[in-house]
Chain length 408, copies 2
């Protein structure tokens, strides 16, 4: 059976992406489908309806993860191959992030099923709860829970930005389940890149071999407010200038990195924030990411050393998040590369800069990801866009990878 004699139904996949993208629009037309909200319920209901229309069994676990299961009597005892991603969104989202991986998974299963094929193991398409982390913390909560990184009790007790409890919200929208799904034999997540690399390089498919470690810190520098005109430079304790030195220091280090480090200071505030007053306080965040844990640690150490050397400034550091880099399964990455090439697509190995459910699932089973280009690298934004041809290409690569993994 040649790998290229089947293709997914492009029209069905693209239409479903658009349909799901219309669910959860607010009065201004913004797409807002936060985890366990009424809009999320409507999106979940639609996914469940599509899964059932393809004859799949729908299971919901305690944290509200939905699993659309294609299982036949002859393979039901095997560990399933899992595909998936998430369908919750950020505020004012695009329509592709997460949804593409879930709906393409469903499309792949439907294509195989409609072709009359029976794989050697079940295939299950997962839609994980609260990947975005906008309403509840931490992000990737559903997949973290599925992977055993947090107990269902802890996860269900998460309090949202609106004060609501996740467990109660899941019950309210009808997605507080009790089903259990077997540990998968492997996990493949198809996703838009959310970065500019594939588009800039004109490459169709990314075979994601690892995922950056993430270090988030909030840094508070306290100096002394003083008159901007009357305080000589040598008598200043300028918290703003100190913050600028930290940013400049981090930029230079990241640019010189050999491991692909990225450093971002995305937020900043000065106090008292007056044109003629030396800042008494500067508060800013540092987002450091690196696919190499030793390198990430070295950057964190260098930052700490730089902070310790700031004269006349009191430094407070709050750690907001820390994830070690994830290395995906190299055999799966090779399968993705081969499948892309067999379809005639250009392909490159790459690092994921964003966090994904795959990073959690990789704790319990071999996992990898397939990326398709994001125009301008734009994501978490209504301008998020992947050309239809790239969406179809990615889904067909996923189809072929599933044919390899689930049928052998």
């Amino acid at each position: 059976m040649a790998l290229t004699n089947l293709t997914i139904d492009p029209d069905r996949l693209l239409a479903r992406l658009k349909q799901l993208g219309e669910i959860g629009r607010d009065g201004e037309g913004r797409l807002i489908r936060l985890a366990a909200s009424d809009a999320d319920r409507l999106g979940r209901d639609r996914f469940v309806a599509w899964a059932k229309a393809s004859g799949l069994a729908v299971k919901v676990d305690r944290i509200g993860n939905i699993f659309a299961l294609w299982s036949e009597p002859e393979n039901a005892q095997e560990a399933p191959l899992m595909l998936g991603s998430h369908i919750d969104t950020v505020i004012d989202a695009g329509i592709y992030d997460g949804c593409y991986g879930v709906l393409a998974g469903l499309e792949v299963v439907a294509t195989l099923k409609e072709a009359g094929l029976t794989p050697k193991r079940p295939v299950v398409v997962a839609a994980f709860t609260n990947e975005e982390g906008v309403r509840f913390s931490p992000d990737m909560l559903g997949s973290l829970c599925f992977a055993g990184g947090i107990t269902p009790e802890e996860a269900l007790a998460a309090r949202g930005t609106d004060g609501k409890i996740l467990g109660e919200e899941l019950a309210r929208i009808g997605y507080a389940g009790s089903d259990e799904v077997a540990r998968p034999a492997a996990y493949i997540e198809l996703h838009i890149e959310q970065g500019p690399v594939l588009e800039r390089e004109g490459v169709a498919i990314g075979a994601v071999e690892n995922l950056q470690g993430i270090s988030w810190q909030r840094i508070i520098l306290d100096g002394v407010a003083n008159h901007a005109g009357t305080t000589p430079m040598t008598m200043r304790h300028d918290a703003g200038a100190a913050a600028a030195s930290v940013i400049t220091f981090l930029q230079a280090r990241a640019r010189a990195s050999k491991t692909g480090t990225v450093a971002t200071v995305g937020t900043i505030a000065f106090e008292p924030n007056a044109i003629n007053v030396i800042p008494a306080r500067a508060v800013f965040t540092v987002d450091l990411r690196d696919p190499d844990e030793a390198s990430l640690k070295a950057h964190e150490k260098a930052l700490a050393d730089h902070l310790a050397k700031l004269e006349g400034i009191t430094v407070t550091v709050e750690r907001l998040a820390r994830f070690e880099p994830v290395v995906f399964d190299q055999d799966l990455v090779a399968e993705i590369e081969m499948a892309a090439k067999a379809r005639g697509h250009s392909v490159r190995r790459m690092t994921s800069g964003a966090g994904h459910d795959a990073q959690m699932i990789s704790r319990i089973t071999p996992a990898a990801m397939i990326f398709v280009p994001s125009i301008g690298g734009i994501s978490h934004n209504p301008k998020e866009l992947t050309p239809d041809a790239d969406l179809v290409a990615g889904a067909n690569v996923l189809l072929d990878v599933v044919r390899t993994l689930a049928f052998r």
Copy 2:
């Protein structure tokens, strides 16, 4: 007549400073006496009452500047010696800024008058309108108008931060006058330093020989927002990092300056200001001050050159304020130095980093300033403090300078 055989009445001066400082307290105890407000009216009324109690004539000009005039028949034809400052305050002010110069001027006149002396020229104590510039722009408006730098019509049309018109507000509080005061023969302003130099050096009196030029700019840097995790360092247009480079650049230049340049970035904002989004926009202000105009221009040029070199960043610069440095009258500065030494006080020549009414009056007559120490350099703050002994010392130096200038 020896210079030291008269002294001001310390108790009267200090008591009046405290009394004036109680006028304009809000419900939280904050001192807020904005120009042409109800609180300002009460402060002005008190000053006028004290002036009249000393037998001085009170004049109010079109922009509301109050002049307490000590004129005798035998000197009425001479150009007056002018002392003064302002009694409007910032929000949550200390009690010394401006008020000290006005009340010490009154104290000096009262002391001389009570001693039965008659100077060779009138002495007039000015309280200029809207020096702080908190409610109406520009700051130093009353003295600027008195010096002919702005017409009364223009000045009266100034619209406050509360939307009110200065002319209407002055009429409302009863300080829209029509008096004219002759161009003074000289102007001396006694003021707290508002900076840390005198206190740090243990010097009692500053003989202010010049006032820094001021350059205020608002700089807007536009880059491109992008995902902090997925955008390689080489593909970024990070407006925040560019802003940090500007701050660091300015700090290094000012610290290396031989002319006493000070550089302050007191305000900053990033957009969208999210931890995991590369800043698309950074807006910040630059406050550059220098006693040397050529040096100030060189810093402005270097800043412009640095901005022009920012790659992938669109730069917008708004000029908010620009004043050339002011050089005070060297003979007056020498008189102040001599008077301080004759009193046994340590004295140093120095530069004023803040703007003062003296800088405006110096446009039309020889002017200079006397500084006394500010504890910690703190000003525009309820913690603003000058020890009583220093306040008395400064007033006595002013007394002696007036005896020299008005009696010869």
